[in-house]
């Protein structure tokens, strides 16, 4: 079976399981809401149009927020940027991790030793703390948060990919291609990479979940996407003090973050089980591959 199809086949197999289908539907629903939301906002999301923490009414079904903005409009407008940033951070983290992991496994010796030492050093930082460290001096810019979260993913991905790639590098077909004089880079991209795609697919799911988690947490701490722009993490923090008057301003964004991360994790779990061909959840697969569990946030 060709490599790229291997990753795709795992996805299809996962989507066909009951658990995977449920996860996928949940994710699709929230993504749809986040993407289509900004197009259908009933009120301008950054303008005060009702009372501070106003209770829900027919014109404002979810009431008002801390400065009288429409909660429903802010919920609809506040998801897409979070998802775009999370996707970009995932791409950087998994892309970098795959390159490092395969290079370490294939080159071995000194390269492997140095790369894995660097991985150890970066792993000592809890992911949220690493992002905070970069944001502290450079300020909270969207690109910086994406980069910080991406970089903090890379070592964990590198470990998992390296563990799988090490075994592939020992196989006969890799050895024979080497003997034919194929350059190292071609062996890595043409022979090793296609054979780690199912592991990479699992990593994509896991890292996407964690990206949402960390970026939402940063926003919640007031150090992510800056106000007055609407976003779910920040909304929860802004409106905590009004929980008694209008709980919806907190409950709805909290629920949306919970729903999409749970949906993603459920789908990822199905991918992990499909990729192993046995009933084993993602964490155990990661543990078997020699990685620590997620040390995020």
């Amino acid at each position: 079976m060709s490599g790229r199809r291997q990753g795709l086949a795992v996805l299809v197999a996962a989507a066909r399981t009951q658990r995977g289908a449920v996860g996928l539907v949940i994710v699709a629903a929230v993504v749809l809401l986040a993407v289509a939301g900004p197009l259908v906002v009933p009120h301008p999301p950054t303008e005060s149009v009702t009372g501070t923490f106003a209770e829900p009414s027919s014109a404002f079904p979810l009431g008002g927020d801390n400065i009288g903005r429409d909660v429903l409009s802010r919920v609809l407008a506040g998801g897409w940027l979070l998802l775009v940033m999370a996707a970009a951070a995932t791409a950087i983290g998994v892309g970098g991790g795959v390159i490092l992991g395969i290079a370490a496994a294939y080159r071995g010796r000194l390269t492997d030793g140095l790369l894995m030492r660097a991985v150890d050093v970066l792993l000592a930082f809890p992911q949220l703390v690493f992002a905070l460290l970069l944001v502290s001096v450079l300020g909270s810019h969207g690109w910086l948060i994406v980069l910080a979260v991406g970089i903090s993913h890379a070592p964990q991905v590198a470990r998992v990919v390296r563990a799988t790639a090490l075994e592939i590098c020992e196989r006969d077909f890799v050895r024979s291609v080497e003997l034919m004089g194929t350059p190292a880079r071609r062996v890595m991209t043409g022979e090793v990479l296609p054979n780690v795609t199912s592991v990479v697919t699992v990593e994509l799911g896991l890292r996407f979940t964690w990206s949402i988690l960390i970026i939402a947490s940063l926003s919640f701490l007031g150090l992510g996407i800056q106000p007055p722009e609407a976003n779910w993490g920040l909304m929860i923090n802004e409106n905590r003090i009004g929980l008694v008057s209008n709980p919806w301003a907190v409950v709805v964004p909290t629920a949306l973050i919970a729903i999409i991360t749970i949906g993603l994790n459920t789908f990822t779990d199905a991918i992990a089980r499909a990729s192993l061909g046995v009933e084993r959840p993602a964490e155990e697969a990661a543990l078997a591959a020699g990685t620590p569990l997620e040390l995020a946030s």
């Binding site: 939402a216 929980l243 008694v244 991360t261 946030s297």
Partner: protein, 339 residues
């Protein structure tokens, strides 16, 4: 300096001698040396991120209010007028002597006003770690004992959901349920007034501890369940059962001890997870620990405080990692044989 090198050399020679006679001790020594190396590299990363990046820290600290005189004063305070290597050396030299600089926000020595917060955070991490481990371990045993029963299925779904959501979602959900909207049993804020200890007001500790305990529970739960199921399928368990021992006895006294090494690994990983988890949870509950202080310092761009707290958190990571590795090594029968 020279006496220090001599001491280190003598220590190294003694370690080498020990290593020849005790292979396990040698592995431990290597692990510790690697840990020290990692910490040193970590300190360079922290320094590079806070002080060496082009976005000059002095500018960041002062922001809009930067006048040339003020800028120079802050630069002197942060030693930014010296070459980078010199800056690093004076910073790390201070750290090794217990001098972590003075806070840019309030002018107090960092160790003096952050020091007590280490204790507060340690209380939170330890209590949450112990409670989370005990409860999730017990649930794991239950799930393994009735494998594929309703409890097993329900708990695995709940575990999957909990691993997915951020800490602040769990925290806010608990606040809504128990402090503000639904019930009014517990305080939503867990401030520790100056002069008192975190354990003086246990009610205030409940929600932050519960949040962290819930967040780490799924990992240990899954590990215990998985390890027990594997052990229960082993031959010697069957033998024990055939000898007429009760299932509960077999589970608790024969199967459980064999699952100890992987359990220790997961307990270690959970402690590490907590080191990051306190950031958000302390912030939510306004609990005066390292995490809340870090958020505040990042908001104020208080570079010496940021450096100190991140160094403490990463040192905790390295120490826990070494400790769990060593304990797992001592428990592992394969290694024990080589002693």
């Amino acid at each position: 300096m020279s006496t220090g090198t001599a001491v280190a050399e003598r220590g190294l020679i003694r370690l080498q001698r020990l290593g020849r006679t005790h292979p396990v001790l040698r592995l431990v020594a290597v692990r510790i040396l690697l840990g020290v190396l990692t910490l040193w590299l970590v300190s360079i990363v922290i320094f590079a991120a806070t002080q060496a990046l082009p976005g000059n820290a002095a500018n960041a600290v002062l922001g809009q209010s930067a006048t040339p005189e003020l800028l120079r004063a802050v630069e002197r305070q942060l030693h930014l007028d010296e070459p980078l290597s010199q800056q690093y050396l004076s910073w790390i030299g201070g750290v090794l002597h217990g001098d972590f600089g003075t806070s840019l926000a309030n002018g107090e020595p960092v160790s003096e006003f952050i020091g007590p917060r280490i204790l507060n955070s340690a209380v939170l991490v330890l209590v949450a770690g112990v409670i989370g481990t005990l409860i999730s371990g017990a649930l794991g045993v239950l799930a393994a004992a009735r494998r594929d029963g309703w409890f097993d299925h329900l708990s695995s779904v709940v575990a999957l959901a909990i691993t997915a959501v951020p800490e602040f979602v769990v925290a806010i959900a608990l606040v809504i349920l128990f402090a503000v909207v639904v019930l009014h049993w517990l305080p939503a804020v867990s401030a520790v007034p100056p002069g008192s200890q975190p354990w003086d007001d246990l009610n205030a500790l409940i929600l932050p501890v519960a949040t962290l305990a819930i967040v780490i529970a799924p990992y240990f739960f899954r590990m215990v369940r998985g390890a027990l199921i594997e052990v229960l399928e082993a031959d010697y368990v069957e033998t024990a059962e055939l000898q007429g021992l009760s299932r509960r006895r077999v589970l608790l006294f024969h199967a459980l001890p064999n699952a100890v090494p992987p359990m220790i690994q997961v307990i270690g990983l959970n402690l590490l997870y907590l080191a990051g988890g306190i950031v958000v949870v302390e912030y939510v509950f306004n609990y005066p620990g390292l995490g809340a202080a870090l958020v505040e310092a990042v908001t104020n761009r208080d570079v010496p405080v940021i450096q100190f707290i991140v160094l403490v958190l990463t040192a905790f990571y390295v120490v826990v990692n070494i400790t769990t590795d060593v304990i797992a090594l001592l428990f592992s029968p394969r290694r024990r044989g080589t002693r």
